[in-house]
Symmetry: C2
Subunit: 111 residues, 2 copies
DNA sequence: CTTGACACCTAGAACAGCTAGGCATATATG
DNA sequence: CATATATGCCTAGCTGTTCTAGGTGTCAAG
């Protein structure tokens, strides 16, 4: 429980999903792959975290879903940002900046 | 639940506490004030988050407690880092750096 | 024909952080 | 004197996120 990779997302998952979806319509499975790839394998979004998060974001009106054909030729659920979702992303990015600044302040404090 | 200040700590609380305690023995109540002050009021550690966290850290052997007289003249529980706690702090700081780097990678991705 | 990648999903557990209480003492204020 | 405020400790119980661990089904490759 101490040094494993679990609980790495620490509440950033929603923001990361919103950001990746903001890059263009994309389906769930691909979102997790993209997050993993862009973060150079740091984040590994489990499906059990991913799908509930997507439904959460959709329920809050930040994402919209539509079934379409994926590049694989099979049906997949494509998500895109709503206007509210874009605002939410902005807010979360701003808040992340403030949060990491605040953390940095504390970590840099010397006695 | 969207824009309020709750759930700001996002798993960083343990690290922040360890860091503040690393600056020198300090009691619980003062830890939360110090975090708030250094972070320029960004973090407001509720007592219901603080004390369970302190007990958690103590149980894991990262902190040691001792009752002493506070500057106010009253008894308070002073915490200091153990050797394990120092290692843990290092690990968490390193991990935080990796995490925020990974987030930055994703947030900076343009289409 | 069976394995692995793709693509979706859920239930239940674990855990962190919050709200909202509680206790006790000291000091300041009306 | 009463009472509010600050100090200083604590817990129970709720909520929300993430994980583990399962499940469904299709398609391509070997």
């Amino acid at each position: 429980m101490a040094e494993d990779k679990s609980e790495m997302l620490k509440g950033t998952l929603d923001m990361l999903i919103l950001k990746v979806v903001a890059l263009g319509p994309i389906h769930g499975y691909a979102i997790s792959q993209r997050i993993q790839q862009i973060s150079k394998e740091f984040f590994q979004v489990q499906q059990g975290s991913l799908y509930p998060a997507l439904h959460r974001l959709e329920n809050r009106g930040w994402l919209e879903a539509e079934w379409r054909e994926a590049s694989s030729g099979r049906e997949a659920k494509f998500y895109k940002l709503t206007k509210k979702g874009r605002k939410q992303l902005e807010a979360e990015v701003l808040n992340w900046a403030r949060l990491s600044d605040a953390v940095a302040l504390i970590l840099r404090t010397a006695e």
